[in-house]
């Protein structure tokens, strides 16, 4: 077993994901199977290999930077248009600190 039930709950907590009991057990089994397959990577020697974070092709270093020119932003109204709860130009969320 790569991953225990306790670890499943811990990871769900890190991911801010509420899981039902059935889901905890299902994901424990799924993750164990998938992580078991991933063990394969231990068979391949990567000594001295630089990790590849992004596809790299020959390009000038600054080729990806655009000119630093001001352009209109989205604006508060549009930015808030999809908020489940908004008011006074802000996103509203439940109380964070209890009195």
């Amino acid at each position: 077993m790569k991953i225990t039930e306790q670890e499943v709950r811990y990871v769900a907590d890190l991911a801010n994901l509420s899981l039902g009991e059935a889901e905890v057990h299902r994901f424990q089994a799924d993750l164990n199977e998938i992580l078991g397959h991933m063990e394969k990577l231990n068979d391949i020697d990567t000594t001295g290999v630089e990790p590849m974070a992004q596809v790299l092709y020959e390009a000038a270093e600054t080729a990806t930077l655009r000119a630093d020119i001001e352009r209109p932003a989205l604006g508060t109204e549009l930015a808030l248009a999809n908020a489940p709860q908004a008011g006074a130009g802000y996103f509203k969320v439940p109380k964070v600190v209890e009195r």
């Binding site: 801010n16 899981l19 998938i34 992580l35 990577l41 068979d43 290999v49 930015a79």
Partner: protein
């Protein structure tokens, strides 16, 4: 007008000869799509106002004698992970059921500037995570050629719409095969361009180092023409490449005789017999065209699924963190304190596959596991890319199957996530290496299920890829 067989060129001809107007075509295409859609569920929603507005602009240009653009009046479907201002964009998720984007994706802007007419938004696996389109919160898509079978995924709706004829072209997105595999299952052409070739501004992020926007069409020419319109540098996407965009349709007519093609032996060993036979006949057809086909080896292929599902889920777990009940429409009703609101919104909003991938991605990035999984996978990714670079020092293109098997039955693999992941084996390598790749119809099984052939080429060498695909298409594929 027989909408299911129209091409870009025929539409242009018809418009310029005043045989029909763009508005007439758009209305007829919308009506046709609305009557056909219930059999596949390919479209999630239509955008008739926007379509008719775009069409009217085309008609105006034609009336004034101006060039109406390379995609004038062409009915196009857009995968529902690509943002359309004022037109609902759900990403196949309950979380975004009521989300209306405040801006357009650059690809959408460009295709409309070229005269394209967006009919509506197509169904997909939730946040593009899946290989069967069964992970949509709004029901699966049925394969138009075999209604009991999946269309592939995650761009299943886009592939089904093009195959069914309810769109002439479609935009899809591809992170691990999400354009090529459904194109193969539905018997259409699907193109994943070089990483960075098309701006991702307005593409909902899944795994940013792997995500692409690409094209689906019934012919190689039309898929190439759409790519030409949407490709190119975009100041709004820092990862978009500055390399000039070649004339892809012009490149189609070149010679393929003497072209060196690599046939990687690792891609041929686990095929179902019918898929293997068809790919074998396809290779024969390429030989007959004068291509120099040789066996090659891509030895790291066996590690690709493990490598991909570490990198893709790690990036996804980070990208999907934004759906927390604050900004994007859905918030759990059972939310007390802020932390509970986050947890319940995500627990109730995400479907099973998204949760599984968030869990997996969070795990592989978590303290103590980062080096063993994520860093290791990034190193293996470098080796996979190196394999391709080595192969391309000897051959001009690589030819493989798209999938080990044709379209499978609805429900057949949904209970076994690892089996589903393993079915992506031949398509994820192209995304990991960031090279252009496509699916072109090869033939059909005895049961009538399409099988696609994959062509992979060097970075930014879409012209060679299209030229080979076009020659193969004209030769009739494997038949």
């Amino acid at each position: 007008m027989h909408i299911p067989s129209l091409t870009i060129d025929q539409i242009r001809e018809g418009l310029l000869a005043h045989r029909f107007s763009a508005v007439e075509l758009a209305q007829e295409a919308l009506d046709f799509a609305a009557t056909q859609n219930p059999s596949t569920n390919a479209y999630l929603h239509f955008s008739p106002e926007r379509a008719l507005r775009s069409a009217a602009r085309v008609d105006e240009k034609v009336a004034q004698g101006q060039d109406p653009g390379p995609l004038a009046g062409v009915p196009i479907a857009v995968k529902d992970v690509i943002l359309t201002k004022g037109v609902r964009t759900t990403c196949g998720s309950k979380l975004l059921e009521h989300y209306t984007p405040p801006y357009d994706a650059t690809a959408v802007t460009r295709l409309e500037e070229a005269g394209g007419v967006i009919l509506g938004k197509t169904n997909c696996d939730e946040f593009a995570m899946g290989s069967s389109n069964e992970n949509s919160a709004f029901g699966p898509v049925r394969n138009p050629l075999a209604p009991g079978r999946v269309p592939g995924g995650s761009s299943g709706g886009s592939a089904a719409a093009v195959a069914q004829g309810t769109a002439v072209l479609a935009l899809g997105s591809d992170t691990g095969g999400s354009i090529r595999q459904p194109a193969s299952f539905c018997g259409v052409v699907g193109v994943t361009p070089t990483y960075g070739r098309v701006s991702r501004y307005g593409l909902t992020a899944f795994a940013s180092s792997l995500d692409h926007i690409g094209t689906l069409a019934r012919t190689v020419r039309d898929a190439a023409a759409l790519l030409e319109v949407i490709a190119g540098r975009d100041p709004l996407d820092a990862t978009s490449a500055a390399a000039p965009v070649p004339d892809y349709t012009h490149a189609l007519d070149g010679e393929v005789k003497g072209m060196k093609l690599g046939l990687p032996r690792e891609y041929l060993k686990d095929l179902t017999s019918e898929t293997g036979d068809l790919i074998g006949k396809g290779i024969q057809a390429l030989r007959k065209l004068g291509c120099d086909v040789r066996d090659i080896s891509l030895p790291t292929t066996d590690y690709a699924v493990a490598c991909y599902y570490i990198i893709a889920t790690a990036e996804a777990s980070s990208n999907l963190a934004r759906y927390d009940g604050v900004r994007y429409t859905f918030r759990s009703a059972s939310s007390g304190a802020l932390s509970d609101m986050y947890r319940h919104t995500r627990g109730e909003g995400f479907g099973a596959e998204c949760k599984r991938r968030i869990m997996l991605g969070t795990y592989v990035l978590s303290a103590g596991y980062y080096d063993a999984y994520y860093l290791k996978a990034q190193k293996v990714r470098a080796l996979i890319a190196r394999d391709f670079a080595h192969a391309f020092s000897e051959v001009d293109a690589i030819v493989t199957p798209v999938s080990p098997f044709p379209a499978f039955k609805l429900g057949e693999k949904i209970g076994d996530p690892l089996a589903m992941y393993l079915s992506d084996i031949y398509t994820i390598t192209g995304d990991l290496a960031g090279i252009p790749c496509m699916s072109v119809p090869c033939g059909k099984t005895a049961e009538g299920l399409p099988v696609g052939m994959q062509i992979l080429a060097r970075h930014f060498d879409e012209p060679s890829m299209f030229r080979l695909a076009y020659a193969f298409e004209r030769a009739g594929g494997a038949n």
